[in-house]
């Protein structure tokens, strides 16, 4: 009964979304107030219906209802409760329902938090979101219904893929989707602005906190995915340039360009059509990512079952959404008035260069991701593009962007004083050169790449910290200042982590018998032995390793080789001793003859800085999004409304 109810609620949600996607937009066009005011309540009802449907699927998982096909395929009665609930998004159908649920959350958030925005604009924004929701709900209901029954019911579920049985599954997909889907709000604002012809600073100010919030979620989501891959896959890597990873990284790159471009549009009124294009692009890439992941046109470690019908449906949706928005852009954007003029060297021009670099980087990652598909489509054979391509293309594009990053906050709008900038930057430059020579030498040897990485990292970090000190002398700066500084500092920390782990990690693959010792990165690892242990739904061989530093045992690590009962799938659980300056990482390979095992030991200097940097970036985003001027407007507008109401009643 509950699954049918969930299904029915989803159909109702489709009906409401269809109303939301048509009447308010038409109303805004024809100035019919009674249709315009429908937008908010429709958005709220849409949210309630989608949320209830989502809960219904969650309930089916919770009570182990294996008469629901999707539950039978992705759960098992032995599965711990938290994973049973996270298994909602462990497969295709549920992931899409999560997508829908997130979209409804964003929609209701816009409806609730935009009290001060004028009604027509709200109607347009919510209407666009309603149209997107309608398209995706049709997709869910017609090709990927999670509530489909399995009759007769299965006795036992097939179980969740063991790779996914990890806290990572609980947090990573919701965060990522929240970010992905969040760009739909920036998109809706852009389309609404194009429709109304009102592309102004107010529009930029409105979409900025929304875009930032989506970007924060996406940043955290990608970072979490990277951490998960690092400890769960047991290869010790943190980024693989896998098509699915790229699918999340592409909107991030464009989203990063967008938040910077929005800043210019808000402050200076420039880059309007460029900003709109970026807003359309970021959301289009989110949709494209969904297409790539869900249609199975590309092979990936995230191997999902593919269904050509789904592929065609998403492609059609993509054509409709992106095609019509780009056509609207081509039609309306030329009419947009130009913003303020700016000099050859100014904050605007520097931000534009950074923006172009980000977009080009995004384009080259997109090309690399789609290249196998293009080559296959042209009948040139089947190939795959690996990390060498991405690293060769990405690093030279990002290096100048990182170089500019330290200088841009010092540049003035309209016209920058280069001499003044140089005077304020020379200390950071000197520190960067010292750091670029000293840090790699201390770590074990200078190479070009480690030199470049540390140079850029120290350059940005020193510049940001010096700017903060200088700024604090003239009073407490607003939150948006801290946002910028922390975000950029995060990039510096990230770059340092990537450089040091890339240049100085050590790895050993050895055969070990109990009692053997292997030395990696100054740490000795003593293999004590293997014991058999039983988990809730798996059996495992647990290894015991003593980490010895200067003849003193410091820690014991317990890597596991698990075999899951229901799927017989072997899984490697690496054991990690994390630290600020290094991780040591042990994972079990295969059992060899006698009591010997193949063992992999890694020494990863500064690897946690990669995710620490991402966290700082996200923190910067939070500061920027919660700046006073966004909240002030809300309060001021609320006050204005109260006054107006009082005026009307008296």
């Amino acid at each position: 009964m509950i699954p049918e109810l969930g299904h029915f609620l989803l159909v109702l949600a489709l009906c409401v979304a269809a109303v939301l996607g048509t009447l308010p937009l038409l109303g805004a066009h024809q100035r019919r107030r009674e249709w315009i005011v429908l937008a908010r309540p429709a958005a709220q009802v849409f949210f309630l219906l989608t949320a209830a449907s989502f809960v219904a699927l969650g309930w089916s998982f919770y009570v182990n209802d294996f008469s629901v096909l999707y539950v039978a395929e992705h759960s098992n009665s032995l599965l711990p409760t938290v994973y049973r609930l996270a298994a909602i998004w462990g497969g295709h159908e549920g992931s899409l329902l999560l997508w829908m649920f997130m979209l409804s959350c964003w929609t209701v958030a816009v409806a609730t938090l935009s009290r001060t925005l004028d009604e027509t604009m709200v109607a347009r924004v919510l209407g666009v979101l309603g149209l997107v929701a309608t398209g995706l709900l049709l997709f869910v209901l017609f090709t990927s219904n999670p509530f489909e029954r399995l009759l007769p019911a299965a006795q036992e579920g097939r179980d969740l893929n063991p790779l996914l049985q990890d806290p990572g599954l609980v947090f990573h997909p919701p965060m990522l989707y929240m970010g992905y889907v969040g760009f739909s709000v920036a998109f809706a604002f852009a389309i609404a602005a194009l429709l109304s012809g009102r592309l102004d600073a107010a529009w930029a100010r409105w979409s900025r906190p929304w875009t930032l919030t989506a970007w924060i979620f996406l940043t955290c989501g990608i970072a979490l995915g990277s951490v998960w891959a690092y400890y769960e896959l047991g290869w010790g890597g943190w980024w693989f340039w896998d098509p699915v990873e790229n699918a999340s990284f592409l909107p991030w790159l464009l989203g990063t360009a967008l938040i910077h471009s929005l800043a210019v549009t808000e402050k200076r009124g420039s880059f309007k059509s460029w900003t709109v294009l970026l807003a359309i692009g970021a959301f289009s890439l989110s949709l494209l990512g969904t297409f790539l992941v869900r249609s199975g046109v590309l092979t990936s470690v995230h191997a999902f079952a593919s269904d050509p019908r789904r592929g065609i449906f998403i492609l059609l949706l993509l054509v409709l959404v992106v095609g019509s928005s780009l056509a609207l852009f081509a039609w309306r954007a030329p009419k947009v008035a130009l913003g303020g003029q700016f000099g050859l060297i100014s904050r605007e021009s520097l931000l534009l260069v950074g923006n172009v670099l980000l977009v080009v980087a995004c384009g080259s990652v997109l090309l690399g991701t789609l290249y196998p598909l293009i080559v296959d489509a042209l009948n040139l054979g089947k190939i795959s593009v690996g990390p060498p391509y991405f690293n060769t293309v990405f690093v030279p594009l990002m290096a100048p962007a990182l170089f500019l990053m330290a200088a841009v906050p010092l540049a003035r709008w309209k016209h920058a004083d280069v001499k003044d900038m140089a005077r304020r930057l020379w200390i950071a430059g000197a520190l960067a050169i010292v750091g670029a020579i000293a840090i790699p030498m201390l770590m074990g040897g200078w190479t070009f790449l480690t030199g470049l990485g540390t140079l850029l990292s120290v350059w940005i970090a020193a510049s940001m910290i010096l700017q903060m000190i200088a700024r604090l002398k003239s009073g407490i700066p607003p939150l948006s200042f801290w946002g910028m500084q922390l975000g950029h500092l995060g990039v510096a920390v990230f770059v340092m982590g990537v450089t040091l782990v890339g240049g100085f990690q050590e790895e050993k693959d050895v055969r070990m018998e109990p009692g053997d010792i292997v030395t990696v990165g100054g740490h000795e690892f003593k293999f004590i032995g293997i014991t058999a242990v039983n988990g809730p739904n798996y059996k495992a061989a647990r290894g015991e390793f003593q980490v010895i530093r200067n003849n003193v045992p410091t820690r014991t690590l317990y890597p596991e080789k698990r075999t899951y009962v229901s799927s017989e799938m072997p899984m490697t659980e690496a054991a990690i001793d994390p630290g600020v300056t290094r991780d040591v990482y042990v994972s079990l390979g295969e059992p060899l003859e006698g009591k010997a095992w193949a063992v992999r030991v890694y020494f990863k200097p500064f690897v946690d800085w990669i995710w620490g940097g991402c966290l700082l970036m996200a923190l910067g985003g939070i500061c920027a999004a919660s700046d006073r001027r966004y909240r002030m407007r809300v309060k001021a507008a609320a006050a204005a409304r109260t006054t107006a109401l009082q005026g009307a009643s008296s």
Binding site: S273, G296, G323, L326, L370, L373, I374, S566
Partner: protein, 177 residues
């Protein structure tokens, strides 16, 4: 309308064209190197009559099917009823290959779910599976009268694949001399 504002739309059009063509291709389709090659010979004990052996040479001159299964394999349970139906129709001999299994578990599985096989060969350590390039259970091979592999089904047999591929092929092979 200025032309430069149409550039994004044009680029998107090109992208869609490639995506559309890409949809018609299957990146997972790896041609099996075993098709049209003689079935690798082996000789292993049978599952139920543990004292008797089985070798593909025993079936020379007949069209037959080799179905790789195991008691621990969940997907095998979904194709099992189809195999039982097929064996009742007595179209061709169906030989099971119980892959990386325990003998008791395998026998119990067949007792519970029905035994569609003329006999099952017992591949306890998976050696035969390696020779046949098995990388997932279930897999099904169709072997012709000359002992040549003519078709390989990866994953469970579905009513659709049975109807559209397997049965027509079997009928055709039986006509060959």
């Amino acid at each position: 309308m200025k032309a430069k504002f149409l550039i994004p739309l044009a680029l998107f059009g090109v992208l869609v064209a490639f995506l559309a063509v890409g949809l018609t291709r299957d990146p997972h389709e790896i041609p099996s190197p075993f098709i049209n090659k003689p079935a690798p010979p082996f000789k292993v004990a049978q599952l139920i009559k543990a004292d008797d052996a089985f070798s593909p040479a025993d079936l020379k001159g007949q069209v037959w099917m080799l179905n790789v299964w195991a008691s621990w394999c969940v997907a095998c349970r979904s194709e099992h009823p189809l195999l039982v139906q097929m064996s009742q129709a007595k179209i061709v001999p169906v030989i099971g290959l119980d892959y990386k299994d325990k003998r008791d578990d395998g026998v119990k599985f067949l007792a519970q779910h029905g035994d569609p096989y003329n006999l099952s060969a017992f591949d306890a350590d998976g050696r035969v599976g390696i020779d046949y390039g098995v990388y997932g259970v279930p897999e099904t091979f169709i072997i012709d009268k000359h002992g040549v592999i003519r078709h390989k089904q990866i994953g469970p047999i579905t009513p659709e694949s049975l109807e559209k591929t397997i049965l027509p092929l079997l009928a055709e092979l039986k006509k060959e001399s």
